[in-house]
Structure formats: structure tokens, C-alpha cells
Symmetry: D2
């Protein structure tokens, strides 16, 4: 389904390319699905860093003029998810500051669960924060570290934070990529002739015709400079628990994530779902675009014809004016429309990737019924979403998650489908071809790989040991 | 395929709705695929007309503030296609003027082939034109008509123009819909409780939950005012030749156009294509989004699995910066990406709706090959495009149309596919279920229903008989 | 005083200068005091006309980029007065249109009293107006004229209009300057090496270092082209009645207007005023800036020291936020401040150029009293303003003119000065050194040189004789 | 003269007024002459601080909407001088940050001579600076202070800085005003019914009708909160050396600065100048506006008539396009024009406030000569400017100051006046009525009250004693 989750950010880094800012720009374009609220690029010419950030889409923020004003052969970039209220340019990344050792810029995908603690500590020692981002704590930790070498300062800083991070860091002379020990969020390394590329997803490599090399490993700090790449692993090993939702919803189907192709995984989800929850029907239709892969898999396994029975508009803007005398299903209809003359009289299987609050699914079922469907069978290519995410996905609180408080049958009644079924957790792992617990599946099981502290406890005054 | 043709415009009209401007806005949103260059709305409160127009998308041009400033219970709206150079706000519609009888606004989908002649004549008598639009000639003809009644002035004006038009006209007290005698472009009438709606496509009715009533007939002038609707047919009947390209490419698949559903017609094109041009292959993939319907039809008829093997980006902006050391296929790759790991080693049928210059198809074929396809078979759901359109579609001149100057085999070699095949003209008519010559198919056959005058001949001084 | 009248417009024209648009820009800068609402320039390169217009000040509207985009060796420009409501870019000048003979642009200072009649006539024959400007009637008359030569078309058009006009007209090949037979508004001709310049005031010549040649004569149409200048006087001679208010308030003191220097005339007004209305006082202060010249003259003749006792702010913008619990005199205090410690205990003569509604004078008197003045004697360097202007000055209607309905003594009481005195009409003529009735003094006497028609009578259908 | 010095900033503060942001806005309008580059306001509602800043003039940056969004009963504001290159929104003030104790905003007029040292020290301990402003060092010192009370933290911070400052500081609950021990820049306290006002100049009080109470004393920290005002003087007393240039050029003539009225002081400068350097002439004219007071004083003392012989344009924008074939004196002529017909044949005394580089004076003399003057005698109401300012005035380096390297006679020849004379330092003190050395006159004498460190020495690591 669309816009269900505010996505979580995408990052790109490039080293040793004469058009570094342009490449970063293209990479961000390919990663645009990971964040549409703001975007930014910082480049380095070996002596100074150059920054441009803005609210909105990459193609609106950057024109030839802005990109021309960003010289240098290395660059990092960031796209940030869209939120309703707290969005502000000061929270756009990369986050660039001057400190005693020069300039440093950082772009972060993930979420630090102890950011509040760290901020309290740092402020107690006189630090002044510029933004509301958890990412800023990392920068202040680097600035206040007693270490001399940048990589040691960064190791110190990342050793103090808890949570998820896939980072790219740029200084005058270096590009650094780092991924948290659990490897929650993806981060991959590529090669473009003599240049190194780091990106959230491989689809960025496809666009710029870079070659995939490998994943940045969980707990790895990879330093790229004129001496080549140097890999550091300063922390003890943790259980590798990448985010299963990247496969279900976030990543682009043309990306390979955590080593496998997303489109194929999604088709497998659909096949598995068809096996677990078959139904007699005339057509299988996806909720476009995120349900497409699973719907094709479901159709294949069930032998029911796949049809593109819902049309998606490409032109949905931000503010829409609802007639006062408002129409049912309105919000959904601006984006989706069921093909009336085609659906009329048919028994329809609708495949979607997930249900969050249930309100949208309810509108979609009603839209299909209004179009004349005889039966509507909803099939979901993920298990019921029971728990909030603390590692970078902006899910609602449990109170708002319909599956946290209702049985599948209750949800079926609420969304008014004839039948409703979710893939099982076991089926999910079968589809992705790995054993259970080998992903972070906290949103389906409530089992969190990293403990979540309560919010904003008093500072512990242990900053400088 | 995408953006192949600059589309041709969409129009909407509403009479007797307390939120007329809002409804026009929603209708334009549903018609946005027909034009992305500019948009505008004119409303009437019975005494005055209110106008707002801008460059860009409907959702960018209109905010609550603009819509609030447009009172009244009737309104018309227009979206205009996107061009590279000559685009200018003065050419945005609706075109609104004051003349001796009050105010009049007009929104036009189509193209007048004798606009140059008419302008020369009118200027010779002292008229001063404000824009470069052919539409403006209609307004000056209305202003200089000797008739007393608006409908007679409009009949006079439309009697003097040649070409294609689907029009909505708004005055202080009336909404008028008119369609040229050949009925080139679509125009449909709907009902929303006590209101009348006129729109280019039925998908606009779906969004605002209006009911489809009928098509505005070729040659009909339909006046809507407080006395209800009055139909006028002042001209002699001509052959009805609606535009076949609406079915092939322009219209949304969820619209019914010229009486039939577009998605079903497109699936028929695909089925017919599979019968005419079968091939052994592993998968059928569409060029998204316009090739989807035909690809599903092709897959069904050929029993080869349908797959969404190419991913389309939703975030393509206007200006993209190409790296100097430019990459093959770049322009296409910003919008489309073949799923490498999935396509590798497969024999692929690619279905697209048409080939214009051939350059884009060539890039798409290469992209699929680069992704590792073993064979690439291109199938086109329209016959070779041989001739330019003079009735509202902004096609290239014949010199640029690859099929105007090359055989299918030559095109196959140029785009470097293993095989290439187009649906036949006969197959096209079979698929749409009507007899030959019952559409304007000039772009495939060169047979133009209305004669095309040479450009800007001297004025004939016959304006005021 | 400041902003008392919305000024009336300024025009500039240049022929045969390789940087014509730049020169027009500089000329408009020098004429900026004549209008701050909008500005525009049209240039010609001999084949096409190029236009740029905008709302606001010349220096905000034009940047290097805009001026670079205006090629050619001739140009005209216009600045327009500032009004509260009806201001709109469509009413900005120069007014540029295409008609049967090519392109024509016009910039107009003045006011046509029969513009409504003409518009009704022209619209009855099918003309469509684009703006609300009276100037547009001239253009439609040119477009619909039966004459062949441009100068004859213009003579026909100007022969049909009544009122005041100082015009510059630009076509592909010609610059034309024209002034109405009464010569209400100024228009002067200058020479800059091989170029011809036409401007509203000589201060524009000073800036671009052009040499003053002569006034454009009342009733003259001066055609400037590659054959040099040709003077036409197609109309019968009328009484020459230039606007006395140019000397009192409009023109810059460094301009020579109607043959004499404005600063010297203003000093004479002050000397005459001192003779007619002496008073015992300690200091003479002007209301800056328009009262400065007269105050210096008054001080000289009365032997009372001139002091700059009121300071004027240079930074007054458009919108000011008044505290709710509002302060007396607020509007005036944003612009003017009396020097408290200096004025305290003194008997003060305040010299201003005119009183319109009386509200501002009342605030100024109060401000001076609040600053501690012992006595405040108001002296006005023009006679009481009794009647509205129909020839280009945007005065209030008679109902709002305080002097139209109150005696000098009543006004004195209203504005709460100790004494109030105006220069007499005879004194005014003595000061300017010409005999009575040799200016248009309708605003002081109610005697209008050109009859004022009642508004919008029915069209007379005599347009095409 | 105009724009000779980039001015130095103006500050305003208000406590306990229900429209605090509006009052700050009006106060900034009155102080606009002290800085036109940027402006900002921060307000407090007792719980949070609200900020709005922008580049440009106060009236452009703030509209009703912005001011409405700034609730609360206390506020501070700042206007900043205009520079060519380094101007950037991040350097606009008030500077607002969150730190461990809450929020704090600061607006600063002056210049810290040891800001570089402090920044190096603070960064070495991990502080991250957000701007290039010296003011930011104060904020970091406050944040890293070990003291508990805000006033003690501020005392600590101000005890570490050297140079000039007139500050207003705002927290959730308090407004604080502080002035450096030498009292370089002005800062005054006023009362508006129940509210306290702090401002750079008294002209801000006049506009908002506040009553002048007293100067903030040199070395005073005045805390204003719900308990009233509390004055702190934590530092040992220094010699009081206010800036004499406030009287010569910066302050508005309607302000009282350092206890005396600026207009009267400027007239005294002119009288003294006439006594020291008399000359036979026909008229005395000022270079408007800053030379007006001194010219009136010169005319009075010399009995030569004062005339406004140069007209100043009120509409000078930022970018002006010079014709390539450029005209002498162009830059000056856009702003000033000598009244030709009036000046012709006269012997002219021109009074200006200072000469910096000499280029502008040269252009003015030439302009007056071109207007026809028989003789031009330049009189300057300040002594020769020999040395740069380090306490808040953006003067050129000594190398560019013409008087630093040339005798008066050499300057006279360079600017091509018939005679040139400056007031003496003794005359300056006589005019202002205080004994020598009672002002900072370093720009005329090179004697700096506070030692100027060389730039950016290594950090001394003494931050936390």
C-alpha cells in the first residue's frame, strides 16, 4: 500500500569521482522512495565541505546551479522521510559542522534509542545542540572525544550509542561507512571504475552503473581514503538481525537487500500466502504498487488470473481539498481507483503488504465493492503488525495498530472483507529462505533485539571517563 | 511507455454545485494525466467570473486559499500538456475575457487546423490577440458575431473553425459543452445529485462519485442553465471518427472512452498481438505503465507468465543532471530499471504501446539485455506510427517518426531486439470490436478525416459577410 | 508631505543606443518618484519587441538577467503610481500588443476622460480588452484605424481621445512621443551623443548625462526613426495649460519642468508665503521632503532660522503592524519624527506643500506639540485644494477634500495649529512668474480646461465612420 | 554621506507587554538605519522562545503572519549591517539556542576582539559552533559555565570576553541588558506604562511612545523579571569611552545619545568648523542626509545661506546596471543629483561628515562642478579618519583610509576641491562639550582603549580553571 509508513531515510556516499555531487544526486534519486521530506548533499574538494539541503524531492531541491556550486571528488547524500508536523529544514541531513579538527558531515539511516540520555549528558558539559535529530549526539561525541584519530573518535562515539544506524561520514579527506552491530538497516558497497560507492540499496548502483561489491558488515567501520579501504570492527559481535520490513515494504523491488532480490522475495511471500490461505476467486489484484510482487506470486500459485484492477494516480500532491459534503473513501480515491466495468460481478482477491490502522484497507475494500465486486478476499503478505518499531521505522504506537488489539476475525469485520488472511511468521521465513529469528521481526513478535530505554532519564555524568 | 507524446489537454465543467471550484479541482486531478504543463479554473457566481491559472500540476497551483477565492456554483477547468519551449502562462487555459456582452471563459481540448487564417482575418478588422493559442480565435469570433444569443454566436464561431474540439464554455449564467462534428476527442456528461458535470474522461466522475449519463455527441452544443439542458446540433452530420490513440495510450485504463472500458480494450490489444505475433519466451513484461494492460492480455493469450520485470520510479522531475562522462541509456534509467537478478538468463517479451522515434525503445532493449536477458522480443500494441496528428496530439513531424521512413525489420535492427512486431490495423479494430474506418487512425494510415490547410495563407477578408 | 497623492506615472524613451534597455532602466530609476506600484520596459531590436514588467520598484523588478534578455537599440519604459486595491500586473505598462501591422508598445502618463465611451464603442464592434487601463483604448483605435501609415493611425486614435496624455510609443522601427494639445503633463526631448531621449522630467537626463533639447510641444506627435525626427501637429491649437501641481509637489526639485527649475519655484512659493502670511517664531521647519524648498524660502524671507526639525525615515515599507492598543499619530510617526530636545519651548513655523484630507496635518501638528513646541504655525505653499483632478492625479473626491467643505479657520481648528495660512492663487502665479490662467489650476479653482463627461454613457456607434 | 560605513547593528528588548513582538518590530523599524542586512526577533511566552529572522529590511522580513506566530510578553530584536559577501542567514541575530538550562537568545551590538581565542579554546573542549559570529562565543561560555544562576553564568561569560558589547539577552522568564565596561556602544532604558524597554537609541522610544529612563551604565548587567529590575556590576570600573562616531554619523539626529541630542551636536560641529575654517562663498549645501545638521550649523555661523543644493533619491536598490560605455561619477549619481540651474555660477561650501577612501568625495565635487559651480569648498565635520575601528564599526583597513596615508592638501588635490578642511580633534570635543579623551576617538587618533590581540593565536587551554 502507499504511504503507510513514513519511510526511514536513504544514504549515499561516493569517493574519488570527478563529478561526486552529480553522482550523489543520481543516487539520491534512486533512493527517493526511502524519504521524500527533505534531501541534502555535502561534497568535499579535499580542503572544504560544501552543503546544500532543502525540503521536498531531490529533483526540486537540486538544479544545475546548486550542483555546480558543489565541487570536489567525494560526497555524501541523504533523503529523509516525510512527517506531518515536526518536519523542519534544521532536521535535514547530512548534518555538517565545524569542530576543533575541521569539518565533518554525517548522513544517518536508523534510530538511536539512547539519544535522549546522551543529549542530557552532553548538554550538562556545555554542548549546544542545533537540531532535534538523534544523529547530532554522534557528532558531539566525536567532537568531545579525547582520541586523536578520526576513526578512534568515531569508534568512541558509536560505542556510546545504542540502536540502529547505517551511516556515511565525510571529512575533507575521507569517506567512512558504518553499520550497527545488529545490521538493522541495509548498507552496500560498490565500485564505479576507480570510485567507491556506498548506498542504502543496490538500485542506486544500477542507475549510476556501479558494480555491487558486498554489504557493509554489521559492526563494521569502513574508512575510504587515498590509501584505499580499511575495515575496522571495534565492537564485540552481536546477533545479526536485519529488518524484515525492508523486504515486505521499504526496499525497491529491483534492489537486492541483505543478499537477495526483493521482487523475488515478494513473489515468494505471495506464493506462500496462496498456499496458507487459498480461496476460490476470479481475479487476483494488487494494491499498487507495494502489493504487486506478492499478488503476482499469489496468482501464480493459485492459478487465478492476475489483473491490474486498481489504477494508481501518479500525481498525488500534498494538500487536497475535500468537499465539505464529503464523500466516502475520499482520501484513498485520490490515489487509487478500481476499474468499475472490469471488476463488476467478479470474486476478487486483493493483495496488500500490510495493515496498520485498518482505515485504509477498509476504504479499499469498500471501493472494490462499490465497483461491483461480488466477493472481496483480502490477503496480506506480512503477519499482523503488533508492535512499534524503535529502529528507524516511523510506525504508530501500539494503541493505533489494529492488530495489537484485535483478532484477525475482528479486523475482517472492520474492513468488511469477505475473508481476511495474513501470512504466518513461519511462512515469512520460509519465503525468504532463512531460519526463524534471523531477522528483526519485533513488529510482528514484540521481541526487540536491543533493549529500549524509557525516555529521558537524568544524565549520568559519565561522559568523560 | 512514458511521456512519449505530449498529451493533449483535459477539460471539466460543473453546473449547480455549491462547491463548484472544489469539484473542478478534483476533476482536474483525475484528468492530470492529460496535461501537466499548466492548469486553471474559472468559476462563476452568477454575476462575475473568477480565474486562477498556473504552470505545473493541479495540486501545486491550487491551495485552499486559491479555491476559497473562487466562489460560485459553476466552474470550468483545464489541464494542458507539457512542452519544452513555448510553454507560457499566457497560453494556460481556461481563456477568460470581457467583451461587449459580459465575460466568457473557454477550455479547449483539440486543435484547430485553420486558426492561422482566422487570426489573419480577425486582425485585419482590428482585433488584438492576447495569446498564441488557436482557441483564442473562437473567442474573437464570438465577440465579433452579429448574432444576439450566446448560443448563436457560439454556433457562428464554431461554424467557422475546422479541426478538433471538445469544449467547455462558461459565462455568468451558463455552462456550455461542445464537441466537433467528427467527435475526435472524448467528452462525457454526468450527473451528481442536482449538478451537471462535463469531463474529458469518466475517471473524473469516479473520483467525485458522479454518475455517467452519456457522451456529448459529435456536433452537439449542449447548453446548461437554470432551465436545464438544451441540445443544439446546428451543423450537418459528418463521419464519426474518434481518436483511436485515446484507447492505445492517452486515456486512463479506468476510464470508459467512446463507450468502452480502456483496460479491457488494452488487454484485447495484447491478446490480438499474441495471436498475430507469438514467440517462445519465459516471461512477458510491460513497459510500465502504459504497456501493462496489453502485456497482461499478451501473457494470458500466450500462456507465458506475466511479470513486473521493470520498475518505474515515481519521482522523476524535470531537470536531470547527466554526468559528463555520460552513461548509456541514461534518460530512460532515471525512470525505469530492469530487475537484474530476476531477468538474468530469461527469454523476455516486452510489451509497449507504441514506438515514436525509436530511441527510447532502443534504450529499453539495451537495459533489459544489460540486466542479463537471453532474448528480447518487443511487441507493440499499436500499428507503426507513420503520420503526424493535426487534431490535438503533439506528435513529432513525419521526418522524426521512425516508422515513417523504415521497415519493421530496420526498426528491429535499430532498437536491437531479437524480434519486433506490431499489431495490425485490422487486429486493432478487431480488438476494439468496431469496423474499420470507424476511428480516426490517420497516424497509422495517413488518412485524415479533415483536410489540413497549408500554414498562414493571406486573409480572405470574408469575416463579416 | 509624503505619499499624499498617488503620483501619476513617468515615461522614458530612447532611440539608437546600443544599450537601450539599460538606459531606459536608469531613466526609470530617476523617475521612480512618479510611480512606485509597477514598472516596465519594452525594447526593440528592429525586428521584434521584448517586454518585462513587474510590481514594485524598478530596482526590484529588473536585474542584469532581465536587462540582458532585452536586446535592441530602442526602448520605452514606464513607472506607475501605487494604489491600494486595484493594482494588478495586467495594468502595468508599457502596454504591448500584436496587431495586423506588427507589434506596438505604449507608455502613457495622464488620464483620458472619455475612455469609457471609447471602450463601449470598440467592444460593440468586437474588440476584446485585456486590461482596465484607459490607455488600451488608444491601442484598439490604432488597430482598427483605416489609415495605412502608423503616424496617421496614431493621429486618428489621439484625435478620438480626450484628456491628458504624454505618451511614448515603440514599434519595431520607430519611437514616437506625443503630448496632448493642452500639454497637461510634462514631456521633454534630449540628446545623448547620437541617441534621442524622451522623458517626463529632466532629472532623467542628468542621470544618463543627456543634454536637454526642448519640450515636446502641446499637440505635437514627434516621430523618431532612422531618418531623424519628424514633427506632426495634426490638431487645432488649444490653450496651453500645464499642471501647476508638478511645481508644487510632483516633480523632483532638481528637474526643470515647463521650462523652469522646480527647486527655485518652490523657494519662491515659500518667499511669497512669508510675505503674505508672516508670523513671529523661533524656527522654520519643513515637512520633509516636499516642504523643504518652500521652508528654505520662507526662512530666507522671514529671517527666521531654517532648521531640519523633523527627521524622515528612509525605510518605510508597505505593511506596518499597529499595536492594538493603538498610539496617536502612529501612521505619521513611522515616517516622521520631531526632534524633541531641539524643538522644546520653541515657536515653530511648519511648511508643507498642501493639505488634502487634513488628517495627516493634524497628526504632524500634534507630533510637534508633543515634542514640546510652544506654538505651531502651519504654512502651506499651495492654495486650498478644492476640486478633484481628472487629468492624471489620483486626488480624493471633493467630499474628502477638507478645503472643499471647510473654511481656513475651520481647518486651523481641526488640525489644531495656532495659525494656518495658504499661499493665494495670485501669489502662486507671482512666484512662478507667469500670468494667471496660464496653468491648469482646476484643483484650486474648479475651472477645468477640458470638459469632464459623465461616466460610461451608451456607445454611439460611430467608430467606423 | 551615505553608506560610507557599514553600520554596526541595533538592538531592542521589551519586557511585560502583551504585544511584545509587535513592539520589538516597531523598535527595529526605528533602528533600521543601524543595519539593513538582516533582522530578527525572538519572543518568549514564559515557557518557550519563538524566533523569526531574515535577510533584508524589517518591513520585508516581518508580516502580520510572522508576528502573530510570535506570542508572549517579552521579546528582543536585532538589525544587522549590510555587507557584500559574507552575509548569510546563519549570521543573523538574535542568536537562539537550547542548552542544559533551557533556551537563551542574544542580540549583540559591538565587536569582541578576543573571539578567535575563545572559539579555539571552546572547540578544543568539544564545543561545536553554528555560525561565524563572535557573539556565539558568549553563548558557549554561558553553556559551559559552572555557575548555577543565569546572571552568574553571564557574568562569567562577559568576564572572559574583550571588546565592545551592548547586549540584550532573553530567556523564558527574563530580559537582561548588558553593556561593556568602556561603554563603547549606546544602550538606553525606557518605560512604557508597565513595560520595560531597552534600545540602542532613543528614537525607538519616540516611535513607541516610551519614556526615556536612563542609560544602561558601562559595565552594568541589568536583569529584568517579574521581581522588577536588578542591577549588577561584577567587573572593576574602566574608563568610560563611548564612540564619538555615533554623534558624527551613526545615530539618528532625533536620538539622544550618551546624554545629548545628536542634531544639536552636529550643528555644533558645523559651527565649530565654520570658525576653524571659514571661506567666502555664496551657498552652504550638505551632502544629504548625514551632512545636513553640520551644514545648517556652518551656514548659521558663517552667515552664508543654507541651501538643499543636492537632491537625494529615496529609491536606491542593491544592483544597478552600469552602461558599459560608463559615465563618470555614476555610482554617486544614482543616489545624489546636484541642482544644475540653481548651482550654476555659485561659490559652494559642501559639508560632509567624513571622508573614508576619498573616491566618493571626488565624485561629489565633480558632480557639483559639472552642475556649474564656480568654486567648491569641502568641509568635513570630523577629523581625518586615520585608523580602523575594532569595536563594532566596519571601517576599511588603514591601507584604504586616504587620510592614513595622505596629507589634507594631497586629499584636496585628489578630490579636486578648491579648498578642503576638517574639524580639529579639539574642536570636536568643544562642539560636543566634553573634555578630551572622554570618547573613544581611536579612528582619529589611533589610541585604542582596549588592546587588540593579533588574530587567532593557539588556544590556551584555560577554559575550565
Amino acid at each position: 500500500m502507499f504511504d503507510k509508513f513514513k519511510d526511514e531515510c536513504g544514504v549515499i556516499g561516493i569517493y574519488n569521482h570527478k563529478e561526486a555531487a552529480n553522482i550523489a544526486y543520481l543516487g539520491l534519486h534512486a533512493l527517493q522512495h526511502r524519504g521524500q521530506e527533505s534531501a541534502g548533499i555535502v561534497s568535499s574538494d579535499g580542503a572544504s565541505l560544501y552543503s546544500h539541503k532543502g525540503m521536498g524531492l531531490v529533483s526540486d531541491i537540486f538544479t544545475k546551479r546548486e550542483l555546480k556550486a558543489m565541487p570536489g571528488s567525494s560526497a555524501i547524500g541523504h533523503v529523509r522521510y516525510s512527517t506531518a508536523g515536526g518536519s523542519h529544514i534544521k532536521n535535514a541531513q547530512p548534518f555538517l559542522v565545524d569542530y576543533s579538527r575541521g569539518s565533518i558531515a554525517i548522513a544517518h539511516n536508523g534510530n538511536l534509542v539512547n539519544a535522549g540520555h546522551l543529549r542530557d549528558e552532553l548538554e550538562a558539559y556545555g554542548s549546544i545542540f542545533q537540531s532535534d535529530m538523534d544523529t547530532e549526539a554522534i557528532v558531539h561525541l566525536i567532537a568531545s572525544s579525547k582520541e586523536n584519530e578520526l576513526v578512534d573518535r568515531l569508534s568512541y562515539a558509536l560505542g556510546r550509542v545504542k540502536g540502529s544506524y547505517s551511516l556515511v561520514v565525510l571529512t575533507e579527506k575521507r569517506l567512512i561507512a558504518a553499520r550497527d552491530p545488529h545490521g538493522f538497516r541495509p548498507l552496500v558497497l560498490g565500485r564505479l571504475k576507480g570510485s567507491w560507492i556506498v548506498a542504502s540499496e543496490t538500485c542506486a548502483f544500477d542507475l549510476i552503473e556501479a558494480e555491487y561489491v558486498r554489504e557493509i558488515e554489521p559492526g563494521e567501520i569502513l574508512v575510504i581514503d587515498d590509501n584505499g579501504t580499511t575495515s575496522h570492527k571495534p565492537y564485540e559481535k552481536r546477533r545479526y538481525t536485519p529488518c524484515i520490513f525492508e523486504h515486505i515494504y521499504f526496499a525497491r523491488p529491483d534492489s537486492n537487500v541483505f543478499g537477495v532480490n526483493v521482487y523475488e522475495v515478494r513473489k515468494n511471500f505471495g506464493r506462500e500466502l496462496a498456499k496458507e490461505h487459498p480461496v476460490e476467486a476470479d481475479i487476483v489484484i494488487p494494491v499498487p504498487d507495494s502489493g504487486v510482487g506478492a499478488a503476482i506470486g499469489y496468482a501464480e500459485a493459485s492459478k487465478i488470473p492476475f489483473e491490474m484492477g486498481i489504477v494508481r494516480s501518479h500525481y498525488v500532491g500534498r494538500t487536497f481539498i475535500e468537499p465539505r459534503d464529503s464523500i466516502r473513501n475520499f482520501g484513498v480515491k485520490l490515489k487509487l481507483n478500481a476499474i468499475g466495468d472490469f471488476i463488476k460481478g467478479k470474486r476478487v482477491v486483493v493483495v496488500d503488504d500490510s495493515i496498520v490502522r485498518g482505515t485504509t484497507s477498509r476504504k479499499i475494500v469498500r471501493m472494490i465493492r462499490d465497483a461491483g465486486a461480488k466477493e472481496v478476499h483480502m490477503r496480506i503478505s506480512s503477519p499482523p503488525t503488533l508492535a512499534s518499531c524503535f529502529y528507524g521505522i516511523d510506525t504508530p504506537t501500539s494503541g493505533e495498530l489494529i492488530a495489537a488489539n484485535h483478532s484477525v476475525e475482528e479486523i475482517n469485520r472492520y474492513i468488511s472483507s469477505d475473508t481476511l488472511a495474513y501470512i504466518s511468521v513461519k511462512g515469512l521465513y520460509r519465503a525468504v529462505g532463512r531460519e526463524e529469528d534471523s531477522f528483526c521481526d519485533a513488529c510482528f513478535t514484540g521481541k526487540y533485539p536491543v533493549e529500549i530505554p524509557s525516555k529521558r532519564v537524568p544524565p549520568q555524568m559519565v561522559l568523560f571517563k
